[in-house]
Symmetry: C2
Subunit: 409 residues, 2 copies
């Protein structure tokens, strides 16, 4: 059975990791900086060597096309991003781009012509580390975000995406939103511990989970820690601590699908010897099921409000962000599943916990993803790593899923 | 039975409240500023009118002396402070100073000569709002803090106490540490809700409680809120929340004497969608008994460490500050109790929750305090208030306690 050239793929990954390399073994290639432009230039050179045709759209998304035999057929696309976190790793994003390049090179080596064209996509500003929000390029491409909004987004220095596109030479002509692809695949490191802990090298990703962000404000009464007897206190901190434990219990009620996190926690006018009068904390809820995340939020509200009332505290719970679940396309999932079955790789179904360009693409065209394990589940970290054999297996799966979708001429 | 002139005392309090008055009805008279100097000048003028002899020591503590009939006898002293919080009230500190002035005026009116002299003490920088630490003047007077250290303390602009004493004209000659008084009394608003809630107008203060400040650092593992299953998490926040609830339970075990507060809580690199990897929080423990506060701290350590171990977290608990309990002098407490009994005022024993100059004085000479209720237990607030009848009753008690100690000639 046809397989990609594992050594060539690994060498490409290591070569790309030199662009913006940090002293600690990571990569810093912030979106549309000179480092990002250098990474794109290296990728573009490899694409030209592979005989691909390059184009750039209005938000700088870069496409490399391998022609198919059928005139006018929509492309089977795959890719990810080349930008990184400020202290990022060598695999997040770049793996999906270079795995697709390796798919093309493998088809070239084997002399295979596909019916539908194949396109490699490099999405602009996926990380959101320079420009907010994350996944900006794919949001504009899929019409999730108006082009004007995307171009007006600015970094901490006030430089807009539009400015940065001109400065980096990536202000392209291709229309945004773009024409839907025949299908979109994306290979990515898992960025979590599930596959590694299970000893499974390939994850067949069935979609993205629902996310709900809540802001919780708890108000009691600030008072002197030394002069206020316990029975007269309205302590916003002890009340919030009880709510945090309730949130943990709610996650247990929805185990293993439900996730709950408190990431921020601010006491207003905090002082060591003052009882907290007002406290704000965030809640991050995740669940693959929209119905289940509704239940989780309802449970949070019921339990938190009861606790506040019992303690004489007032509470205000507001939705900060609501993102519904994103099921991937059954036919694309099946193409991935068939490929992995034929290759005989141990695999499991998995839901994407993080955001990816594929989550936007799924609203635009049939989409699926392939995950490979990352060492210690670590990502967004200079120590991010993946095993060469896992890197190769994921690209093999991508090759056969794309080939099945594109069809041999 | 002899009583103070309630109307005159109230008028003096309201007159002093005009010096540094804020638009919200409070007072801003930071230590050794022009406002503080103006307050001291007004007080000094009243003292001269009352025939008292003024002196100032090396840290600006101001004393006003009424002679006694016995040559060489140590003075029976009483006072407090005239400096305030940045948004302070009309009673905190100033009440103890002007109540003592009213005692002297009442003795003058009644033509009473005491055997021992009487001194009114105005302590420098009690609040700690301008110079750290609080109770600086009384600390230097009692030898708790070296004079050089006190003079070198500086405010946020780098101005030292020594500079400010010269600028305000309060660099005096009287030696520091000072000669011990025969006894020291201090009348003060309670700064808590106990007396008001109990409907008791006078508190006979038996001492200051022990205070212990702990720093707790909990370390887990920062990870992505979307990609990390609950069972793989080492969440420093959920662990700390459980510890907070344990702390609340420990306070309940030591109810009503034990107090416990978490005033600060900082997540390292906090982000809404990141599991807390490291968290620092403070613990403030109080108890009138040194043995009991030892037990409280031991219980904190045992329970927190067990919780951390069960959750796979590491924990580090360090003592930030240890202040033992300060029992007041039995004879001085009895002088206050006898006075209040003779006056027939409803009263109760109470432990001081806050710091006061009297806590330092207690290490230097026989000491006791008198508390009166403050409205809603509120202090360090522009809305701080006290009822005129309570203000008068506290001064009546002070009068008779001091008179008993000083003796009629």
């Amino acid at each position: 059975m046809l397989k990609i050239n594992a050594e060539r793929l690994w060498q490409s990954l290591m070569e790309m990791a030199k662009v913006g390399a940090t002293t600690k073994g990571g990569v810093r290639r912030l979106a549309l900086t000179s480092e990002d432009a250098a990474g794109r230039a290296l990728f573009a050179a490899w694409c030209r060597d592979a005989g691909l045709t390059l184009s750039v759209d209005r938000v700088g998304n870069l496409f490399a096309r391998r022609a198919g035999s059928e005139t006018g057929a929509a492309a089977v696309a795959s890719g990810s991003h080349l930008d990184t976190q400020p202290e990022g790793g060598r695999f997040d994003g770049v793996y999906g781009v270079l795995a697709t390049l390796e798919v093309v090179r493998t088809l070239n080596d084997a002399g295979i012509v596909t019916r539908k064209p194949i396109e490699i996509a490099v999405w602009t500003n996926e990380e959101g580390a320079r420009f907010t929000p994350a996944m900006l390029g794919s949001a504009a491409f899929t019409g999730v975000m108006p082009l004007e909004t995307a171009l007006a987004a600015h970094d901490a220095d006030g430089v807009t995406v539009d400015d940065a596109l001109h400065a980096s030479g990536y202000q392209g002509e291709r229309a945004v939103p773009g024409e839907p692809f025949d299908a979109y695949f994306e290979a990515h490191i898992e960025q979590g511990p599930v596959l590694e802990e299970a000893g499974v090298p390939v994850g067949v990703v069935t979609g993205g989970q629902a996310i709900r962000w809540l802001d919780v404000r708890v108000t009691g009464r600030a008072a002197h820690a030394g002069t206020t007897p316990m029975q007269y206190r309205k302590d916003a901190l002890f009340g919030s601590a009880e709510m945090a434990s309730e949130l943990e219990a709610i996650a247990a009620d929805f185990f293993p699908q439900g996730l709950a996190t408190i990431g921020e926690w601010h006491i207003h006018n905090a002082s060591r010897n003052t009882i907290a009068g007002e406290l704000m904390f965030t809640v991050d809820l995740r669940n693959p099921s929209d119905a289940a995340i509704d239940e989780m939020e309802a449970s949070v509200r019921t339990r938190f409000e009861a606790t506040a009332a019992r303690r004489g505290l007032t509470i205000d719970i507001t939705q900060h962000w609501v993102s519904p679940s994103t099921p991937f396309d059954p036919a694309c999932i099946e193409a991935v599943q068939s490929a992995v079955n034929e290759l005989g790789y141990v695999n499991q179904r998995i839901v994407s916990g993080a955001g990816h360009d594929a989550i936007h693409l799924a609203k635009h065209c049939p989409t699926a993803m392939i995950f490979i394990p990352c060492v210690d589940g670590l990502s967004h970290n200079e120590a991010e790593d993946a095993l060469p054999e896992d890197v190769a297996r994921g690209a093999d799966v991508l090759l056969h899923a794309m080939l099945a979708r594109a069809g041999r001429a």
